[in-house]
Symmetry: C4
Subunit: 367 residues, 4 copies
């Protein structure tokens, strides 16, 4: 245990047994302090969209194909020419120091060990360069909560570029904080600083609620910002939070190099559709012009399969990986990704698919 | 506490913490006497329509639009040229003295403080003029339960006009009382008088059940009554309780100046559709000829958004506001409306809308 | 209490408070011996069809029409030229002595008091003539479980005709007993005799299970039996148990004077549709050539309305009325019918309908 | 009780009371050791497909036809010219020694007594010849988990042929083990040997988990294997695990003599459709060219009816029969099949069908 400002952080470092990703939540709840756990686990309003995110995978079914003559399914794939061992990626998520003393340092290390792609949040507990270093050369993306202060934005983008980030994820669905009741119930303020704020802004985030943090960010985000960020960073820009074909086309028209279909894990707008329920329509509109990352609701190997078969190139998740971080540090993170990838490989073999390309070409059934 | 005829009324006067509107019901149940609470909270028959009213908002989803370049959403709007700070309005609701010693006096004050529109019920605990005065110049509508006795109707309409009411709401869906089991279980009779009955009729309502009260009202209400009421009041007439395109057109053809889509909060006909489920069809028929008010089931900011995007110009609610009244008097009422408007503003920003007009032009998704 | 063969029968004679028809079941369970209660309440297999019967009324909604200028709704109607005060009818149901010492005698008296139509089962606890007499001139139908023994059939039909029955209901959906688990769990055999068996067959039914009783009845029932029964009885014949347009047309083509849409209250075939879900298709096929009676699932005034609006001329039910019989004898029966008719009148008024003809012409909504 | 390697097996030999097939699970859980019970009862991942398998039968309804003039329904039918008394068949299921000391010996005897068709699993606790002998001349099929080792395959197929098996079932949906959480939770390894492994392979399966067992089997199974197996066995080959029209046509094109629609009782791919939900589309594609066997989810007589009416020629099940085996040995097995066949006969009679051909020609309703 590490104590920071009266907040107790785990410092577990071990591989963990993962029965399934859902079961990790109750285990993590026992060891993450209440406010931090509520911040990580909670959604907005009555959590309808949060629950629907996972439920929606039951709206379609995988048609298994037998006599396919396949064995030993391969999960390696690539995005922007970057090779990864698995299409499972770490979603950008703030303040992972809430779950573990080492925060994103350990997440990056565990993700790297799994051969997966890491993404860092602007509101990380650890700095861009430190987190990148922990990944030991493994690919990482940097997520930008665009600030009203363009000096801040430029500093972050430059550090990301210099540290070796491969792309910028521009979050577009969080121009104000969703109404997250668990934070209200717990009267939650961040007990620990955010490294990028400490380094490049006046405050360090500590003692603030997520509402205050987001208030410093830009509310007005428009298509022109994509180009501006691309120019500063000199990296591909992926627009995160897209939930409609119209927005996907708008973003691509404005220069986006990737589309990230997400509803922020049900933490922002409640009463919107499950992220999975809009994926295939967005993918049809995108029509392979740029890659698609998908998150919000993935908990099972069969979900990974269904998302890829609906048009995603990579699938991302955060909560279960953060629970793995709390329970086992870098090795816990690794255990979670490995478990999910194992479930996914089982699904691939049983569905009669050998490669990620085969999965993407699978037809789902709506019954 | 104020005691009237053995009935204990709260006299709380304070702003309250509102986690969400649904959570207020259990808090209010602790402090409103059982019979009064049952009268306020109950629906008819097995409450199917009552429950469906809120559930129906999940039948469609908000498609959030990112990269919209908006900030600081504005909720001000207008109806009949009257400006209000929010599209959220107080539904007409009887006997608010059941919840608080000051009854509608405090409701009107709290609604005025929120910059919202107040409506008074014929069966109010306080008089038209007193309630209007409490609003301190803020706009109010008067709701008429049309009596068989036209002297009674004329007296009410004249007092409303003189006191400054801006429109008359003619309730058309309560020509007999719905079968409300909670009132039967509690053997509920009104323990406190109704000011307008005291003033203009023979009895004051005290000691009567809602069935007896409604029996004094007219059962036969027809299109011609709209014109008659308009002539007497010299005010716009809004027909409340409309649930079909046919009835909307009938009312407009007979001179109605507004349509109020409602199923009386699930308190009248059970086994009819959720109010929200019929809104868009009614709105298509009305086609902007007159304004539309909507109530029945609104509990969340996302519900306000969905109702406006389905054709409503204003949305109304009563139960949660009455719970706010019980818990905090005028300031409690204010707290509830402010909370709901805050949830709504969050939804507006996350959906990429800046004005009420933007919200109305939003397309919803059916998944 | 009356004790017969160790079976304790109530002899309550009083009007009862009916909160709603569903709530009667728990009250009746307290006073009807376990085996008898299980026989009355149970359905077949896992009760899917039994539950769906009532749930199905939520598949469509009543569109209330306001400004209809109606008051004082009238529930009187007629079938085969017989006037009744309500479209609510007693379904034929066996062995009502299980619920009350007076059995069908009291049911007939209570139904007559309510101005409703009574139907008697072949397997009644009381004789055709005695039950008819208890009705004191009020209209009754006689239901035939057609026996393999045509002497038995003839004796019954003649007694029915002589006693004044107005029509014969030929049950066609019970050529073998449904698999009713509650009877198996309770190892249920009829503890009391069946009057018609006592009079016209070798055994009296006592000590037998429903399977044995049904085994004495004909398994093979065909279109030709309709004519044969008509000829013997000289009365209109209504075919009960019809659930498809094809069967309705077959029965009418073979001479049926009425169609009785029913799935035997979910007691026979499980895994078939809710009775209400097939009503409108059957009604379309029948196209007013003969009257339609409907049962299976009716518990609310809104259900009565929906069934009539879907093509029924009369609606029938048994279980809740038998519970009323157990709780209050003839007056209990009366209380139940009156309560349901009151709920129905409330629905009529709120829907803007004045007559049964108006109800039949109402359009329902599918949302 | 018989104890093998610390694992306690029942040796009950008696007919049992079967209320319904679902109720057997809780009874069996009391007497089968935890690990063995978990192996038998469990499905994969979160059991969605397992539950949906049975739930799916409610997606369509049986339209009962009255006035059909039928009695005494006959359940006898045939497949490949083999006559059976019932269309209900034993699914191939591994390691029935987990449930009973005599394992498949007793299952075969009970199935034979019921006049049904037995199928043996490659991973049986008892040998092909012994199990066949226990059936005393009654028809049996042999199921092949195709090994990587073709000597093993040939040995099995030859023993099956010599022992008198009538067909080979080639399982194609288990090229890797589904992720079965109950086995993980129980850390389950087979405590008892598998007779065919003992006889023809290096290990006997004891002490291994199902994952290890499946790993010895072939992962690559293709259309050509059908022909190869046919040639070795000289028997018809049925491909098991088909869930799509495409795969059915592929298998038939490659020489399959029968199609076995199944999702392995929800034990393999989770997130695929209920087996029943794909049956009718597969049947349309097969178009009577070869017979269809169906399993996964059958628990009721009405399910048997619906599966046959959707295109199956035989329906199979395993879990409830294995529970009967645990509770009563051969006679327990017999009791379960008899009970299910009795429920099915009741359904046949109530639906107005006399023969299996009538059932197959019945139209189902989708409401």
């Amino acid at each position: 245990m590490t104590e920071t400002n009266g907040y107790f952080q785990n410092d577990n470092e071990k591989e963990i047994n993962v029965l399934n990703l859902q079961s990790l939540e109750a285990e993590a709840e026992k060891i993450i302090p209440k406010g931090g756990f509520g911040y990580i686990a909670g959604g907005s309003e009555d959590n309808w969209t949060l629950k629907e995110n996972t439920e929606a995978f039951n709206h379609v079914q995988i048609v298994p194909h037998v006599l396919s003559n396949v064995e030993d399914p391969q999960t390696d794939t690539s995005i922007f020419g970057i090779n990864v061992k698995t299409p499972i990626m770490m979603s950008p998520a703030a303040a992972q120091g809430l779950a573990h003393a080492k925060g994103e340092i350990d997440t990056a290390a565990g993700i790297a060990k799994a051969g997966a792609l890491m993404s860092q949040s602007t509101y990380s507990s650890t700095s861009i360069a430190d987190t990148m270093k922990a990944g030991n050369g493994a690919p990482q993306f940097f997520q930008l909560y665009m600030s009203k202060d363009w000096n801040f934005n430029e500093n972050l983008l430059k550090e990301a570029k210099e540290a070796g980030a491969k792309a910028i994820i521009l979050t577009s669905d969080a121009t104000v904080d969703g109404y997250r009741e668990s934070d209200v119930v717990n009267d939650f303020q961040f007990p620990i600083p955010m490294a990028n704020l400490t380094k490049f802004s006046e405050g360090d985030g500590k003692g603030k609620g997520i509402g205050e943090i987001y208030a410093a960010a830009a509310q007005k985000i428009g298509p022109d910002d994509i180009k501006r960020i691309k120019d500063i960073a000199g990296l591909p820009v992926i627009v995160k939070g897209v939930q409609s074909p119209e927005d996907a086309l708008l973003a691509i028209g404005a220069g986006a190099d990737g589309i990230y279909v997400s509803n922020h894990g049900g933490r922002q707008l409640n009463g919107g559709p499950a992220s999975f329920d809009v994926l295939s329509d967005v993918a049809k509109a995108v029509n392979h012009r740029v890659p698609i990352i998908f998150d919000s609701g993935i908990r099972r190997g069969s979900h990974v399969f269904k998302a890829l078969a609906s048009g995603a190139d990579l699938v991302a998740l955060a909560r279960p990986i953060i629970y793995g971080l709390a329970l086992g540090g870098a090795d816990g993170v690794y255990s979670v990704v490995e478990h999910l990838n194992d479930e996914f490989k089982t699904t691939m073999q049983l569905a009669g698919t050998k490669t990620i390309e085969d999965v993407k070409n699978s037809k789902l059934l709506k019954k």
